[in-house]
């Protein structure tokens, strides 16, 4: 069974971020990242992640080009122009949400820890 909805929701972004961290951890000498099993997984996941990023970039360029093809002054052009204008903020939002969500899980963990007794 699959938990959540697979795709490029927050879950998708989360796994892409984890995949991008693998080579960084490997390069910085993380012990786990240098184990043979982890290296093997990294080598299978990293090309997929780079391909996913390339497809995302192509999609962005495609939408940009589509907006340029549509006759200026039409309602459709206005719609696309509006979306294009807010694109940087929209692109940032999932990263912020993901960071907040992970932060909340850490806070819940800390809140559940029993406070240390003095002495």
């Amino acid at each position: 069974m699959i938990a959540g909805l697979p795709g490029v929701g927050l879950g998708g972004l989360y796994y892409v971020c984890l995949a991008l961290l693998m080579p960084l951890r490997f390069l910085f000498g993380d012990k786990r990242a240098r184990q043979p099993r982890q290296k093997r997984i990294m080598m299978s996941v990293l090309p997929l992640t780079l391909a996913i990023l390339a497809v995302l970039a192509l999609e962005g360029l495609g939408l940009h080009a589509l907006a340029g093809l549509i006759e200026p002054g039409t309602g459709v052009a206005a719609d696309l122009g509006g979306l294009r204008g807010s694109a940087p903020r929209l692109a940032l939002l999932p990263f912020v949400l993901l960071a907040v969500l992970i932060g909340v899980t850490h806070l819940v963990r800390l809140a559940r820890r029993p406070s240390r007794q003095p002495g």
Partner: protein, 363 residues
């Protein structure tokens, strides 16, 4: 119905390697819970007995079927046992058989699932690593014809090729799939076997093992082929069970999983996508399309090219490129329906306090 994903059953039994007394498969009992599985049980038992490394025993639990499941399983070479009355769930049937297991390892496999000929040999190798308590394999629908089977085909190719491998890198596979997993008996038995308190016993057990610091491994080379729901009636039963099972497990385990690194964040994003993303899909996007711009409808399809990357990476070596491409739209449909079931499960379990307790078989 044509068999497209699995190797033809005529290839079973596979060429058998000489197995020494130390082979792990010799120390493996396979248990197959079955209720009215006359149509599929023979294929399942034959694929188990035709493995490159043969298990010590294959036990079919005939959960008081009203068809010929028991006779067919016995004829195919399995040991058949029957509880005094229907156990009411897959976990109940599995636990009934667990009392008779004396081997070091025990495998659970669904009665509608066949394995690739070398699946047992490959999955057992995971236990070479100390500390591994459970190993699970790659799952692919055996038949890929209807919109529901096609949606599931893409979902599995995507999740098992990408998400699950990343989880495995962190030693935190989210679920050891109930349809094909192997456990160390000395870990499983003290836990009382498979829990029956939720509708997703595989998730429940996997999270318990993570909380105990046990090793959970994913073996992508070990392939299994279950029969997935063919129509909406069966699919809705399965989605209902899985969505309720997920919410029930979050409620049951949240205190434990916040202590487990990566698992806590993986479950949190899963819950987010099941709730907030479902609301976006079913409520926000139609409203935005209606009142702001119809271009928001692109939101339903915009990630399909991204989903296609891992899907094609898995499908091309299997010679299934066109099948994967043709199945992508079905994935979008299944995901939309799935989001509705998740929202209903959240509402029912958390708001109304009505927990799903009746196990409805949906393949």
């Amino acid at each position: 119905m044509t068999m497209v994903a699995a190797p033809p059953l005529s290839t079973f039994p596979a060429e058998r390697t000489e197995v020494g007394p130390t082979s792990r498969a010799d120390r493996l009992t396979i248990i197959v819970p079955a209720y009215n599985e006359a149509a599929s049980i023979r294929d399942t038992v034959e694929s188990l007995l035709g493995q490159t490394t043969r298990p010590a025993e294959v036990i079919v639990i005939d959960d008081c079927s009203t068809d010929d499941t028991a006779a067919i399983a016995r004829e195919a070479g399995a040991t058949v046992i029957q509880p005094p009355q229907n156990t009411g769930s897959k976990a109940g049937a599995q636990n009934f058989a667990l009392t008779q297991v004396t081997t070091e390892y025990v495998m659970a496999i669904d009665a509608d699932t066949v394995l690739a000929p070398d699946a047992v040999e490959l999955i057992m190798a995971a236990f070479d690593e100390p500390g591994v308590a459970v190993a699970c394999g790659f799952v692919l629908p055996r038949h890929v014809e209807t919109i529901w089977e096609r949606g599931r085909y893409v979902e599995y190719l995507f999740a098992f090729t990408y998400f699950k491998r990343i989880q495995d890198w962190h030693d935190k596979a989210l679920i050891a799939s109930g349809c094909f997993s192997v456990y160390r008996s000395d870990v499983l038995m003290p836990l009382g076997g498979w829990p029956t308190r939720t509708m997703a016993e595989d998730m429940d057990l996997t999270w318990t093992l993570h909380e105990q610091g046990r090793g959970v491994r994913f073996v992508p080379e070990a392939l299994s082929y279950p029969i997935e729901p063919r129509d909406y009636n069966f699919m809705s039963k399965q989605l209902r069970r899985w969505s309720h099972g997920f919410v029930q497990n979050v409620r049951q385990h949240w205190r434990g999983i916040v202590e487990v690194s990566y698992l806590r964040s993986a479950v949190a994003v899963g819950l987010w996508d099941a709730s907030v993303a479902s609301i976006l899909f079913l409520v926000a996007m139609p409203l935005l399309a209606l009142f702001v711009s119809p271009w928001f409808l692109l939101g339903y399809l915009i990630d399909l090219p991204v989903v296609a990357v891992p899907v094609l990476a898995a499908a091309i070596p299997r010679g299934e490129t066109m099948k994967a491409l043709a199945s992508l739209p079905s994935f979008a449909v299944l995901r939309l329906v799935n989001s509705l079931f998740f929202l209903r499960a959240l509402w029912s379990e958390l708001v109304l306090g009505r927990s799903l307790t009746v196990y409805e078989k949906g393949h």
